[in-house]
């Protein structure tokens, strides 16, 4: 039964090292003179990778029935994607504020 399977020590510690490595990478990036948008994008991509590692291995989702993943994660992702619609007004606000000043 797939369900009973768990991550072994080797996997757990590799994931741990992977997460630490990504964190160090993020910190190094923070000191690069990158434009804010680029840095934000890169940091978010790295963070999503970290989150995926935590969900898959620490939270065990990789070893559950696929249906659990299929119901939980797309719902969450869908909500988050929809919420990004608010940024249209945020950038508009920035534009209008720049006109006032």
């Amino acid at each position: 039964m797939e369900h009973a399977e768990t991550a072994g020590n080797k996997i757990v510690f590799s994931v741990w090292f992977g997460l630490l490595g990504l964190t160090v990478l993020e910190v190094i990036l923070a000191y690069r003179q990158l434009p804010l948008e680029t840095m934000f994008s890169v940091l978010m991509v790295l963070s999503v990778i970290k989150a995926a590692l935590i969900i898959a291995y620490f939270m065990h989702l990789r070893y559950e029935q696929p249906s659990l993943f299929v119901t939980l994660i797309p719902a969450l992702v869908f909500i988050l994607i929809m919420m990004t619609a608010i940024f249209a007004d945020s950038s508009r606000l920035a534009h209008m504020r720049s006109l006032v000043q």
Binding site: T23, V27, A30, K50
Partner: protein
């Protein structure tokens, strides 16, 4: 009992141990016990709450003409150590869940306490950071670097996360004591682990968004 908790959920167990020969109809699509599914659903909704707060921060930061970047090397180093502590506590949690599912009670309790200890260290380091900022004059409505919303966003996001860590520490200790006295099963340990990893996961976003994007560069 504790060793079977992690096994496949059969129709009989889903019905509270009553003897039903087979699951004729409605299959259990997730094959996970109710508590675990409940915790997953809670995590989804809590993730949305966090996201809404983070999105509010993004909305205001994007609209702001300037946003302070006050975190010097000591703050970034502190936050990196906090990340390390939290990630390590997650590994301890994984080990606690495994020990509990193998029926090793003292091992599980030990790892649970270690996990909670990680949470306490995280909180202490974070409160130190807070006190430092407050000492520099940062308030929810004012800070020395302009754009008053900086303090509001910082305290709200990190405060909400710290609250989750603190609740998690209490939760883990309750589970540790209960599991030590055989009042809780290995499944309960696993469910508490889900919550702890989620708190860890949220920090993976708070850390870059709050600290790294406001790091003071030369």
């Amino acid at each position: 009992m504790s060793s079977s908790s992690d096994g496949p959920l059969t129709a009989a167990t889903a019905h509270g141990g009553h003897d039903i020969p087979s699951w004729g109809g409605g299959s259990l699509p997730y094959a996970v016990p109710s508590k675990k599914l409940g915790m997953w659903l809670f995590i989804v909704s809590d993730a949305i709450t966090f996201s809404a707060v983070i999105f509010a921060y993004g909305y205001l930061r994007l609209a702001a003409a300037a946003w302070p970047r006050p975190f010097g090397t000591p703050s970034i180093a502190n936050a990196t150590v906090m990340t390390f502590v939290l990630l390590s506590s997650s590994v301890a949690m994984v080990l606690a869940v495994r020990a509990s599912s193998l029926g090793k009670v003292s091992g599980a309790v030990g790892w649970l306490v270690a996990t909670a200890l990680g949470g306490v260290v995280f909180d202490i380091l974070h409160i130190r950071e807070w006190l430092g900022l407050i000492g520099e004059g940062v308030r929810p409505f004012h800070n020395p670097w302009g754009t008053p919303m900086f303090g509001a966003a910082f305290f709200t996001m990190t405060g909400l996360h710290m609250l989750h860590v603190t609740i998690g520490v209490v939760y883990l200790l309750v589970i540790a004591v209960g599991f030590g006295r055989r009042k809780f099963s290995a499944a309960d340990v696993e469910v508490s682990g889900l919550y702890w990893h989620f708190v860890d996961l949220v920090w993976m976003f708070i850390f870059p968004l709050v600290y790294l994007l406001s790091a003071k560069t030369a």
